[in-house]
Structures are given as structure tokens and as C-alpha cells.
Symmetry: C2
């Protein structure tokens, strides 16, 4: 055993290590000083002992040099072999699983969990831990096995071996799930984890810039993101990469498991990119590790260099062999299917392991990782001590910081939402109302981080004196710059990454950051896979979807989301709210803020919407639907929604005055919230008379509440806002005519006759593809 180099020891004794883990890593500097693409080839010039010292002391932040246990190369070799055999066994056990990449990445895992990553197995959520994201989530057994080996309490041997079992309470599901310790985000849909990792790294940058002070690097963790080929192919991955490079997130390290294999065969069947050049063009520092199957030292050095990166995110291109050890190593077949018993015998024999032992973890392997728990405890202890000192040195700031950690807002949102009497009473675009409600929240509560997919002039989410989230090094040609303390985010024209990266912001520590995204509603179709992952993970985010409905107008059918609401209304754990006026917008924000484990989309209109101060109610929004205009002897109830409430109100007036039909109106901003009400409330609101919903969307789903719908049956049309509604016969006159006809019918036959016979009152204008009907003519 050799001690650390003298110069390093002197250096360390001179200052607190903690402050220098990021910036003063000698090896990192050495590596970085050569050139931008560094090929670290084995055998390396630095001995494993050096690495063990360096990484244990600097890489993972421990400063107890005396505790470092150096490992001989053959120990590491044995661990890698045991790990790979274990992965093969875990997938064979229930004849299901993804062994290939997990086996290929073994050495990367050892480098991370043994040498470089800062984490605490007995305190998985310690605030300043490094975040690890497995973006190639199908390789989850890789993560589960390391969590078990380093001592995460929940990941017992029984739990680990429940992978793909029939246990419904397994902590080892087919993809990593955020609910379980050691899993930062749920991954699986490819590219999402990479985007989440960008969000996690942003969160660190932002919180660090906001709360760190001289001598107090309270938030300075790394985010390590493991990816496969897919994350570099998926558009959302490329969007997120562009953003990470633009923001110079030097605390993000993307580790590329470059095994050259996808399901269909070799990656070169569908990709010919020069990946390193592409990543450099996107602003990443690129490192390359040639022997990623077994050269743990090379990987450790690259990871340390990544942590030392000054002003760029890093990309480590690590050559591995999928299914390393298998007879079919390097072939697509080992990706997503168990290897088979014969191959596993072959593997164990070649590795010098006992072929009759299955699912075994030897004591040597546990011993190899035994430093993880005490090291983690020490890391947490050190951070807690630092927090104590911070509290006394920066008392005010620390109060705020601790609130943020606890997920509490620094002001009462309810107080900041404008009161009804302060809202405009003349027609106002509901997108403007959304700004009027959100801007004071954003200005006063720094939990909010608000961004837009390049629609600042349209979505009204920018508050006065906002600071943009940007690297302080940025100098734009338009002169609008920013800082990492900034809370307004220019996502560019990248709706999908906007949603997926926002999930990372929200997942950093639940409640610490509340991301608000904004774009045209139609382009939340681009963002939908990210929005869904937020709902699945119970991450509070707010999506401001403007220009909803056909009211988007001139931009035409490509911009008119007639069917998209069906997706968001059907999505579990999600609130899709269409407020009708400013007061309902206030209610929508209240609901979104109350729903701390549920994302919300507030769907607002481009055009001016009439304000209904005498009828609309923010409390009503919390109930999903409520009586808007009552009429005890009504013959019909109109369900009014969002920007088109005006048609419900005007139609009701016309029905009463011209047709002598008494009409009541229910405002129905949110189906999900309404479903959460008692049956009594629901029956009372809906009433028993004929119900007609008015909304220029596909009526899909409204059949639950209404007997008839006045809706859209085609895509929209490019026409000015003033013309578009009447083009599709959305006028009070036309609606009243159709409704009165149905009222007559109901008077004759009874409303029960409409059961199971939903009426489309506006089905005249079908899609232009008339050829459809003729193609199926013989079947009519």
C-alpha cells in the first residue's frame, strides 16, 4: 500500500477538501489538459492504487484517507465476473429480463458505486447526493444489483431476486421506478432519463447558485447518466443534449454504453453518426474509454475528469461488449432475453466460478463494497455539519434553504393568487389571465421555475424583472442574458425536452422546484411522452397550454388541437383543466398547486373570452364542475367548457327568450376533479334533465355526462379567430336550434330514451376525406 503523493497530501491539508472536490482534481486536470477528445487506453499510466486513493478521496468526496481500502486488480476482476454471472442468473430465473447491457456495463458500475459516486445507502435521499439516472432503463437489473451490493436496505437479497417474479410488491420491477430508494427517476421510454438527468443537473446548478456561499457549497452534486444507443437516436435525447451543452451543465456526465448493438442488429444498420463529433458540436467535452469491459481504472479516471469539468457537460464514450462473457456476447440476441442454461454454465466455467451455484453473492463481493455505507454516512454527516455552520453564518438564507429542502414554499400561494375583485371584467384572453395569475406567484415564490418553448410573446408567462436561467458566461446577440440563479427558462423549440427535463427539475427533491412549462396546446402532443412520465411519477408540474381549441384560428388545422384533450383527460393521475375566465384560471392554478403529486395542464385560449364574475368560481374549479347558472325548472342543462362557455351562455339566453326553453348551465373545467366528488354532489350538479355539452373538440369522453354533444368531427380550418367558430357552425343560433329540437324529442319520448343513444348535434361537417365513406360503402 502506497500513500498518496506528497504534493497531493500537502495540497489537501492546506484547504478543506470538500470545497475542492470539483475543481482541484489533479488527475482530472492532467487528463483535461491534453485535448478535447481523450482516448484513455489500457494499460493506463496510473496504477490502480493511485486511482483508489484519488477517487476515494476526491471523487466521492470522502476525506478519510486512512479508511481507504485498496483493492488488488484480481479482486476487482472477481467482482466483475461474479456480478455478470449474477445478472445472467437473475434473468434466467424467471426466463425474462435484459441481461446484455447490464453485463456489459459491470465495470462502469464498479467505477461509479465503488469509487466515484457520492451517495449514502442508509440515507438514500440525503440532499446533496450525486444523482444517478439509468436512461437505458431496461438494464434495471444492473442498478438493482449494485443497490443490493452497496447496502441499500430495501434491496434485500429477496427483493433483488424477485426481479421478474410474480411478486407484485417487488422493488425490482422491469424498469426502474422512482418510488424505490436509489432510483432518482422512473425510466424506460428511451431518451426520457437523459432529459431527466439534464433537469437534475439544472436543479443543482440553480440551487447551488442560489444558496451556495463562500465556503459553503451546499449543493454541488454531480448527475451521472447512463445511456445506450437509443438515447442518442431519440429526438428527446438530442433536444436535451443541446440544452445541456447550451447551459454548460458541467455537473452532468453522460456515460455512453457503446456496445454497438440494438435489437435489430448492429447499430450501424440504422446510425452512421460520428457520435463524438456530434456531442462536441453540441457543447460537450468528450472522453473515450476503449476497454470498458474490464478496465475500471480508465473509467474511474474519466469519471473523475468529468467531475472536474469546468464549463462543459461531459460525455464518456465507453466501448463495451453487450452480454460480456456470454457465448453470444456482442450480438443482438443477448439484449432482451435470458441467455439459456448452457450459456450460463459456459460463462461460469470461463469465469472460474462454481457452475452449480446460482444467484450467489460471495462474501468477497460484499466485502469489496463494504466501504459504501460508512462512507455514505460520513458524507451525510459532513454535509449536515456544513449545514449547521451555514445556519449560523447565513441565518436568513438557511431558513429559506431548509424550507426548500422540506419542499415548502416561502410564501403562501393562496395569498398571491389575485382575488376575484382584482380580475378584469371585460373580455380578456384566458392566456392573459394565466399570466396575471402566474406572474405574481413566479415573482414572489422562488420554488417556481417557469419556461416556454420559444413562445414568450404568446404565453404571457414572463414576469417583470425575471432573470433567465442561463450560464453567466452567455453573451447573446440580442443582449438578453441570465444567470444560474434565474428561474425563467428558454427551452427553445423543444417541447418534448421541456416536459422531460422539467420532470428532472421536479424530481431533484420533491417540492423544492415546481416547474411550469408553456407552449401552444397542440404542441403538448410533442411533449406528451414527457408529460405522461410526470403523471406516472407523481411529479408536480404545471403545463400552461395556450391557443387551445379551434380558436387558435389562422394557423389552421395543424395548430388546432381538436382531439388532444381526450388523451389528457384519459391520462391517470393528471388534471386537464379548461377554465372559462380569469376567475376559473385562478381556480385552475389553485387546483394545480394543491395537487402536490399530480401534474396539471391549464388549457387556455388565444382569443378574448367573456368574463363571468357573477357565475364563475375558483372553488367550483376545485370540484371539477359546478352550477354556473341555475334554473330550477330547466328543460335542459348545457355543459359549458373553457373558451366556449360563451356559446353555452348565449345559447341559454336564446333558448329561454326565443324558444321558451328554460336552461341551466354547468361549468365543467375538469373531468378528473369532478370524478373525485361525492355521487350526491355529482348528481346535484348534473341534474336529471337533458344535458348537452358544447365544446369544439372530439366529444370523446363527454358521453359520460351528457346525452348529446355539440362538437367537432373533423380537423379544423385556417380562418381568422373571428370566423373559425361560425365556419363549424358554432353560433348560439345554430346550437339553440339543434338543442331545441332535441328538447322537443325528449318531451315526447322522455329523457331516458336517450340512454345509449348519444346524439351528435353538429355532425354535418365531417372530414374532407369523403373517400372514406365510399371505401366502406359495401359495408353499410
Amino acid at each position: 500500500m502506497r500513500g498518496p503523493p506528497t504534493w497531493l497530501a500537502i495540497f489537501i491539508s492546506a484547504r478543506r477538501i470538500l470545497r475542492y472536490t470539483r475543481s482541484c482534481i489533479a488527475i482530472g486536470k492532467l487528463i483535461k489538459s491534453t485535448k478535447s477528445l481523450l482516448i484513455i487506453m489500457a494499460p493506463t499510466r496510473v496504477s490502480e492504487d493511485d486511482v483508489a486513493h484519488t477517487s476515494a478521496n476526491l471523487g466521492n468526496g470522502s476525506h478519510h484517507i486512512e479508511n481507504v481500502q485498496l483493492e488488488e486488480h484480481k479482486k476487482t476482476d472477481f467482482v466483475l465476473k461474479s456480478f455478470r454471472a449474477m445478472i445472467a442468473d437473475l434473468c434466467q430465473q424467471f426466463n425474462m429480463g435484459h441481461p446484455g447491457s447490464a453485463m456489459g456495463m459491470a465495470a462502469i458500475g464498479v467505477a461509479l458505486w465503488k469509487h466515484v459516486m457520492k451517495y449514502s445507502p442508509h440515507s438514500p435521499n440525503y440532499f446533496n447526493r450525486d444523482r444517478f439516472v439509468l436512461s437505458n432503463g431496461h438494464a434495471c437489473v444492473f442498478l438493482y444489483t449494485f443497490l443490493h451490493l452497496v447496502g441499500y436496505k430495501h434491496m434485500t437479497y429477496e427483493q433483488l431476486t424477485s426481479y421478474h417474479s410474480k411478486r407484485w410488491d417487488s422493488f425490482a420491477p422491469g424498469h426502474p421506478e422512482i418510488e424505490h430508494d436509489g432510483v432518482e427517476v422512473t425510466t424506460g421510454p428511451l431518451g426520457q432519463g437523459l432529459a431527466n438527468a439534464v433537469g437534475l443537473a439544472m436543479a443543482t446548478k440553480h440551487l447551488g447558485a442560489t444558496y451556495n456561499r463562500e465556503g459553503f457549497d451546499m449543493v454541488d452534486n454531480m448527475t451521472w447518466c447512463m445511456i445506450g444507443d437509443a438515447c442518442l437516436q431519440e429526438g428527446v435525447g438530442m433536444e436535451a443534449i443541446q440544452l445541456a451543452g447550451h447551459w454548460k451543465l458541467n455537473n452532468l456526465c453522460v456515460m455512453y454504453d457503446n456496445n454497438s448493438i440494438t435489437c435489430d442488429g448492429s447499430v450501424d444498420m440504422c446510425s452512421s453518426d460520428d457520435v463524438n463529433a456530434k456531442m462536441r458540436a453540441c457543447g460537450f467535452e468528450v472522453f473515450e474509454v476503449e476497454h470498458g469491459n474490464d478496465n475500471v481504472e480508465s473509467i474511474v479516471k474519466a469519471l473523475i475528469a468529468a467531475r472536474a469539468s469546468k464549463d462543459k457537460p461531459t460525455f464518456i464514450n465507453i466501448k463495451t461488449t453487450i452480454g460480456y462473457g456470454s457465448a453470444n456476447a456482442g450480438l443482438a440476441g443477448v439484449h432482451g432475453a435470458p441467455l439459456g442454461k448452457d450459456d450460463i454454465i459456459q460463462i461460469k466455467r470461463t469465469f472460474g466460478l462454481d457452475v452449480d451455484q446460482h444467484l450467489t453473492v460471495s462474501q468477497e463481493v460484499y466485502d469489496y463494497f463494504r466501504g459504501a455505507v460508512p462512507r455514505g454516512k460520513q458524507l451525510e454527516k459532513d454535509w449536515n455539519s456544513l449545514l449547521e455552520k451555514y445556519t449560523s453564518t447565513h441565518p436568513e438564507l438557511s431558513v429559506e434553504f431548509k424550507k426548500r429542502i422540506a419542499g415548502e414554499m416561502t410564501a403562501d400561494w393562496n395569498e398571491l393568487i389575485p382575488k376575484k375583485e382584482d380580475l378584469p371584467t371585460t373580455p380578456t384572453p384566458s392566456r392573459k389571465s394565466a399570466g396575471a395569475v402566474c406572474n405574481p406567484l413566479a415573482e414572489k415564490i422562488n420554488t417556481f421555475m417557469i419556461g416556454t418553448a420559444d413562445l414568450t410573446p404568446s404565453v404571457n408567462m414572463a414576469w417583470n424583472n425575471k432573470t433567465d436561467f442561463q450560464t453567466p458566461l452567455l453573451r447573446t446577440s440580442c443582449g438578453i442574458n441570465g444567470a444560474y440563479t434565474g428561474r425563467y427558462i428558454h427551452w427553445g423549440i423543444r417541447e418534448h425536452a421541456m416536459a422531460a427535463v422539467s420532470n428532472g427539475l421536479a424530481a431533484f427533491n420533491k417540492g423544492t422546484i415546481l416547474p411550469v412549462t408553456s407552449s401552444f396546446f397542440m404542441f403538448y402532443l410533442y411533449a406528451a411522452p414527457g408529460v405522461r412520465m410526470g403523471a406516472l411519477q407523481g411529479l408536480q408540474t404545471i403545463h400552461i397550454a395556450t391557443h387551445d381549441s379551434i380558436g387558435a384560428g389562422e394557423d389552421g388545422p395543424t395548430h388546432q388541437p381538436v382531439e388532444l384533450a381526450a388523451l389528457y383527460r384519459a391520462m391517470p393521475n393528471f388534471l386537464y383543466i379548461r377554465p372559462c375566465d380569469g376567475e376559473e384560471v385562478a381556480g385552475a392554478f389553485a387546483a394545480a398547486l394543491r395537487a402536490t403529486h399530480t401534474p396539471t395542464m391549464i388549457s387556455v385560449a388565444r382569443q378574448e373570452t367573456v368574463q363571468y364574475p357573477l357565475s364563475s368560481s375558483r372553488d367550483g374549479v376545485q370540484r371539477g364542475a359546478y352550477i354556473f347558472i341555475d334554473e330550477p325548472d330547466a328543460a335542459v342543462t348545457l355543459l359549458g367548457v373553457g373558451a366556449e362557455m360563451v356559446f353555452a351562455v348565449d345559447t341559454a339566453n336564446l333558448l329561454t327568450k326565443t324558444y321558451g326553453i328554460k336552461t341551466r348551465i354547468v361549468s365543467f373545467p375538469c373531468q378528473r376533479l369532478f370524478e373525485a366528488q361525492t355521487p350526491f354532489y355529482r348528481h346535484r350538479v348534473l341534474g336529471s334533465v337533458l344535458r348537452v355539452v358544447i365544446e369544439p373538440y372530439a366529444v370523446h369522453g363527454w358521453e359520460r355526462y351528457a346525452d348529446a354533444g355539440y362538437s367537432m368531427h373533423s380537423f379544423g380550418h385556417s380562418l381568422p379567430r373571428s370566423e373559425i367558430y361560425s365556419r363549424f357552425e358554432f353560433t348560439a343560433e345554430k346550437i339553440a336550434q339543434k338543442v331545441s329540437g332535441l328538447v322537443d324529442e325528449v318531451e315526447k319520448n322522455g329523457v331516458e330514451s336517450l340512454r345509449g343513444d348519444f346524439r351528435d348535434l353538429n355532425s354535418g361537417y365531417k372530414t374532407g376525406h369523403e373517400v372514406f365513406a365510399s371505401a366502406f360503402a359495401e359495408y353499410r
Copy 2:
């Protein structure tokens, strides 16, 4: 006027020009011989006269040298000024529109429509025309104005000036729409057009490789795609770019309107990429034009070089100024709003135009483009002559080629779909049935181009002896190569581009290519914006969505699409079909093939599904729903759907045997097709007794047909296929119990009592985020 250089004249006289338009362009060669990034700076070394000759004769394929009208520089300058003033006027007229990029790109348009592009205004769909795609579709007024100037018949002055008017039959909508001449694809949602252009270029490559013969370049057109910054930011754009580079689509030229401005400000606020380096890394040849506002010659030369590219797609980075001429040129403000009257006066004054003239096109401007119509006629005539010779030289091939042009298949699909008696009767995964039906179609009918987002082993779409669509230059490490004649496409893990590029394949010439995509159903959420654009454009495509429902199993909730069907069922002009067995899969394909102007998604299961040869009917599928098992005295009708038909059948048996409740079953594969039936048919199928739908999706939309649903109210769970259904209480026992309870209630109260009171029979298991209910507790 100076004649062409002697060497060129000799060269031309020596061989047919048409054969050399692509490969023998002298200037192109000259340009390309220097280096990969070429900065073409003004003043150029080639005079405008030279360019006019070269481009008129080689660039756009005309071989009538004597017809070429050379233009003086000042004429071009006047045209550019007039064009820009016209754009400003068109946006000012109705106080709406996007003037900025259209004005900035004026010189690019002149280079294309005057000098380089092969098109025929009076025959807009002539088969071998160059395709032009305006991916930055908001700049549509750019396209409309050029279509008018070069003489497209439909784009009269009245139509051009109807841009943003109240005319609902305007040919100048807010974004380009495929229905109108000169518009190859509908664009607007950013990145889509770029992906479409890749598909159009693929179509040329594929058809050329299939039908061209020595001396007969029947299909060799270019695809010119105009993009702004957004298309390089959107993920779908980056996915498509990767594919174009991989396939070496040298017939694709992407022209980047590099004006450095987005809605929020300068592009550098959200992007720091080295765009040229990124494009090169993706396999593009990169050219740069420094003075894109007015140096038409530089642009022409770059475009000619692009057409001459041997083995790479090309990217022309053209520096322009957004709103060139405006007082606010170069600022975000000119992007999406009219410039204002004062600014327009300023523009006209500066340009030396009459400030009192609005929306005027002078005769000089018309004269400038007057060659377009005769040149186009000649191009078409030449191609038709060539086709005649081709017909006599290659009679058999020409018959097939002409069928393809006419959009006819070369065999009867109905004959190729397996007969019922040839289908398996034992449980079979419906994804396998999809393969069994599709593979013979794909093998025998070369209209089909079938691809997968890297799921060849899972989706069963690869037929025996398929050839992959690849560049013949490709040599993969796994040894699977291909050719441009190939019709099996490896899209990589790029679901969004798969759908969007497929739209381009389908749009090349309706009916010539029928793209079939395939992936897990869940990942059609990634693809959704592309799928939607196919529906909007009436492009026949078939999407094979496997692993539908919670039956996806082990992969867990990230892979279980419980809410996605709601989107596709609500989408206009779209068929979402869930067949229950092989026979219904056959019916689903028949419907998809019959729907020549409507895309279809066939949603199939991973797991084995029971076959019902005595009940299932392919003709029934054409009707959307049909009586599966009849029972005249039934007390309840179960609506069975897709892979879960087994629960309907088993529940019916149990209800009959154990509960003594007579039950009938309706198979309901497609709501849209059912809606196309007569009311009589619909009432007969649905019947009047209690109806319960059984489907482990959000029940959203089924309320139209059913009184109650046995459905999902949460995301799924990671469990083996064998366990997942019972986890969510999808067992015949549980379902029968709940249904019998409702039958009892209906016997007491009458089925009409259920009107407007839809019952969720499986609502016990809600989403895990119980905190949701408590957050809204005060509102209950």
C-alpha cells in the same frame, strides 16, 4: 447576351443533357472539389450570366439553351425588392401573418424557382418533379407568392391576396396544406416537414433504384427542404437528419434559413450548437452561403452543388436577415406580426418602390419568371417522351411502373390476406397474426415499405428474403446490409421520425408507396405528432402497434398504454383497430387497405390470444363492431375488445352457468368504423339491454356505447403477463360478480335508470397517489 462557353456547348451536344443533370455539373464539381465546408462569398468568381446559363441548362434540367433569358443583376434586385414589399403588404392587409422569414428568404426563392428547381406550374403533379418542402411552414406566404409568380394556375392574384382573409376556400391558408397545388406536404408543426422531406427523398431513391435502367433515369428528382432554426432543435428533425445521413440521401438538400432569430429573441438564447459540425457529424455535406439576402448567384451555385452531391445529403447554411428591409430587420418582432404601415412605407421608399402602391406585382416581375411555365412544360414533355421509350425498351417493367404511378397495386391484396381456414386455431399472440397477414402482402406487393423502430424480433413484420432499404455502400458489422431497392426499413429507435418520414413516403405520389410502421403501442405516443399529420393529410399509412394494453406485462407501467387509445380513437380521419384474433387481424388489414385516404393503427397484443373461428369475422371488423355471440333473451351485452375478448367470453359463460344470466357478446374492434354504420345496424348490434364494456384502458369514450365499464383507473404495474390481469382484477370471476350485481339493479330499476350514470365496475384500484384525494378533501 453571351452564349454558353464553347466547352460546355460541345459537352452538351455530345450527350443527352437529361442523363447528366445530376452527375456532370461542372460548377458543382468545381465547388465540391475544394473542401467539405465551402464558404461561397460574394462577389463570386462566376458572373451572373454564367450562372444563368449553367443553372437554366443543368440545374433545372432544361436543354433549350436558346430559350434561356439572361437577367441583369438589377432585374434580380428589383424582383427581390418587389417580392419583399409584396410579403410585407400581404401580412399587413389583414393585420396577420409571418413576414419575417418570407422576406429574409427571398433570394433563396429566386434561386430555386427561377434557376434550379425542376417543376411544371401547369402540371403540378408531373411525376419526376423536384419536391419542395417548406418545413418552416409559418413562412407559407413565401411559397404562395412564388407559386403565383411562376404561374401556378390555382394561385391567382385573388387567391394570393386572400392570405389570412375570411375566405374559407382560400388556397393560401396560415400554413401550407397538401390539398393545394405546389404544396407537397402540409407543414407547420416544426420538424415535421424536414422529416417528410427525408421520406420524399427516400421515395425517389427507392423508385429510382427499382425502375431506372441504363439510359432511363425515370425517377431522379431532388427534394429541396427549407428549414428554420426550429427544425434543427425539434427532436423529430434531428432524428430525420440522422436517417438521411445514414442512408446517404444525396438527392436531399436541406436549406437552412439561418437568420439567428426565434420568437424569444436571438437563437443563441437557447442554442449554442455548432450547427455545421453537427450536420457533418450526421453525414451531411455542408455548404455555407454568407450573403443569403441578395446574392442569388451564391445560392444557385450551392444548390447546383447540392444536386451534384454524389453520396451525401447536403446542408446549405444560408445567412439571412429576418424581415430584410424592415426597420426592425434582424429582430424577433418581425417574425410573426405585420410590420406596420409606417415600416412598409419606409421599406418601399428605401427600395425605390412606389409607397402608394400596395399588393402590386409589376409586369417586370412577372416577366422575370415567365420562363417557368414553358420550361416546366418541356420538362414534362421530355419525361413523357422518355417514358414512351422506356415503355418500348422495358415493356414489362413499364407496366408495373405505370401502375405504381397510377397508385395501383401490382396484385390484389384481398387474395393475399390468408383465408380464415388457413389461420391458426390455437392461442396465438395477435402480433404474430399481424405478421402472418402482413408478410405475404409485403412480399408480393412492392407498394409496401415496412419498417420498425428497432423491434424486428418483437413485431413480426420482417418477411422471408426481405431486402433492407439501405445505401448499397453500407457494410454493417453484423453483416446485414441492403440496397435502395429494399423495402424493409430499420428506423432505429426513432418512433417520431418513423411516422413523420413515412408521411413523406406516402406523399411522394399518393398510392405509389404504402408505408407500414411498427413499434410497441406505448411508443406511438412518441410518434403521435407524425401520425396526426398523416391523418390530417389523408395519407394512407398503416401503423402496427404491438404490446398493447396492460398485457405488455413485465415491462411495467412505462410500457403499458392505458390511456393512449383515447387519443387515437378521438383523432379525426383515423382508424384505431383492436382485433381480438387472427381473423379480426385479417379484417383490420382489409380495412386499412380499403381506407386509401386514412391512416390506420392496428393494435395487437404481445401475449397469446384465444382464437374464435366460430365467432370472429373479418367482415365484422369493416363494420367496426358486430354480434360475436348472440343470445336473443340476453339480460346483458358484453362489449369485448382486442386481446381481452377472452374476458368477455369467459365472463359470459360464467354469467350464464353460475348466475343464470343470459349474455350476448359484441366484438368492438373499431369505434370509427362503427360510427360509419347506419343507425339501424348500430342499434341492432348494440341491442337494448344493459351493456358493459371490458377493456383494461381508461374507459374514456366507451360511455357512448356502454352503461358500465370494467376498465383501468390507474397506470399499470410491472408483473409477468400471466399475473398482470389478475393484479387489476381482470378475471372472469370478478367481472361476472360485478356485472351480475348491475344486472340485478337493472332488473329492479330498469336499464333507463342508468342514463347519465355511467358505472365504473372496477374502480377499486386507483392510482397510487392517494395524496391527491386528501389534497382536495375540503372540496368533497
